[in-house]
């Protein structure tokens, strides 16, 4: 097991000791959401501003089934994943036909369409009030009502998601997606069906979003209308950029920074989004690769300061 995995497992174990369990749970849920977006934004170079479409839809559909039909928790999670993936296939099919700004606006516009559907369809979604009363059924006989129990369940799913995403980005598909980000024309000339590969990235991203959506609904016992809104789509983009898009662990770190700031600092200081803004400006101006890049640069800087001669000798060799 690599150092990064050890660090993540340690973080998973220690986090609930330092922050409130509900916040800790939310961090990993948001990280799953970010992992999905990162495949699109970081690896494929597709800035989707509509990921909440899949997050919210997964939450609504699974939430509805949990609330009115009392379905099994695994079925609810499965449904969330499938709903996210299927909608991503549909939305993605329309979006990958366009590129650049038009692509971004299309993801945003379709997100708004889903948002207003949820807003108007009050008999099912509860409209502005959201869909309350989402139960948290037990998992194979284990009661997950206690915060720590639910935290553990989410943490396991998060580690599983991270592992799946690692497999994908290390696979040929991961390389092909990066190739598309780097040079679409060349990727096509090599024999890759670029729109179809982009669609694959969309579907995977949608599945991750759907899963995160269901977990979110079960965490708070409600599907709020915001969960399908564009602010939520923007938040996951911000979080991923702050953490470091295009690196596997970036969205995980970003989610931690984002949720921790928004949940902990917000209770002390009402103007907390200001901090987020500053962090975002710093990232855009100095660390395009987010916290991950800042971290890497810090170690290089330290190595240079400690042993300038050795490094210089190394460079001149």
């Amino acid at each position: 097991m690599s150092k990064a995995w050890l660090a993540i497992v340690a973080a998973v174990v220690l986090l609930p000791v330092f922050v409130r369990q509900a916040i800790a749970t939310e961090i990993w849920i948001f990280a799953i959401f970010g992992l999905g977006l990162n495949l699109l934004m970081g690896y494929t170079g597709l800035l989707s501003f509509g990921q909440a479409t899949f997050f919210g839809s997964g939450a609504y559909v699974a939430g509805y089934l949990l609330k009115y039909y009392g379905v099994n928790v695994f079925l609810a999670l499965g449904v969330g994943i499938v709903v996210g993936a299927v909608l991503a296939a549909a939305v993605g099919y329309l979006c990958v036909q366009r590129s650049g700004l038009y692509f971004i606006m299309l993801t945003f516009a379709l997100n708004q369409m889903f948002y207003f559907t949820a807003y108007q369809w009050t008999t099912v979604t509860g409209g502005e009030d959201g869909m309350p009363g989402i139960p948290r059924p037990s998992v194979l006989g284990f009661d997950i009502h206690r915060p720590l129990a639910y935290y553990s369940a989410v943490a396991v799913l998060f580690l599983l998601s991270l592992w799946v995403m690692k497999c994908i980005v290390d696979s040929p598909l991961g390389k092909i997606l990066q190739a598309i980000r780097e040079n679409e024309l060349r990727a096509e000339a090599l024999g890759y069906n670029v729109p179809r590969m982009k669609l694959a990235a969309f579907v995977v991203g949608g599945a991750f979003s759907g899963l995160a959506g269901v977990l979110y609904a079960m965490l708070f016992g409600i599907v709020p209308l915001e969960s399908i809104g564009f602010v939520f789509s923007g938040n996951v983009v911000f979080a991923t950029l702050i953490g470091g898009s295009g690196s596997l662990y970036g969205p995980v770190i970003g989610s931690f920074v984002f949720i921790w700031l928004s949940e902990s600092v917000s209770s002390m200081w009402a103007r907390w989004p200001l901090l987020l803004g500053v962090a975002f400006v710093i990232v855009v101006l100095f660390f395009r690769g987010g916290v991950v890049e800042a971290w890497a640069r810090f170690w290089i800087w330290r190595a240079v300061r400690r042993a300038p001669d050795a490094v210089q000798a190394d460079a001149s060799r």
Partner: protein
Amino acid sequence: MPLVRTERLTKSFGALTAVNEVSIEVEEGSLHSVIGPNGAGKTTFFNLLTGQHTPTSGRIIFDGHDIAGTPPHRVAHLGIARSFQRTSIFPTLSILDNVWLAAFARQESWRGLAWRRADRYPELTRRALVVLGEVGLSEKAGQPAREISHGEQRQLELAIALAAAPRLLLLDEPAAGLSPDETQKMVALVRKFKGRYTIILIEHKIDVVMTMSDRISVMHFGSVIAEGTPREIQRNPEVRRAYLGGVPAS
């Protein structure tokens, strides 16, 4: 039988006819050069062959099938690979990955596409390294492609095309922007691959073209104004007037 044959291939952009009724035959295993002044339609001709552009009219017969209008990713699977005039690589990926991606694309089956680690395809990695060895880049395999020199990037450009194990290799000015030294290296490389692949070469350096080619087509304002062996081309008065200008016939 020729491997590829175009019949009155035409491409118009509005009022401009970039490629005008071009008919060319390329024999299997030969090196066929296309020369002509800038704007003669050479690169557009390549873009038609690889599917980047759809012809306005005419046919492209590759291996007995009309492939005109086939999209680029399908053309690649037929075994037509190209290098680009303006270096077209994947800058942040490693040199090995650049070539590996070309090799993977031509696999019969894409088994393990989304789950097997990319470094667990030993046969592909080996093939990619062999190709890198042939163009002289194996020592830099692990470096990101953006970090190597322009000359080396041109070699990589060629390696990417070769890694696709092409039946037809289209080289669009492989020596573009190279120093005299680097040009010599590139010419030696192309010469090495002559006979192993069927090659269509676009090149501006006349001496290179004259010594290497089996046949030459001369394009001018979108049309082929002459075709023949290097010797015939050098003697052709129309070609000399339109293009060769001051180059003395030997």
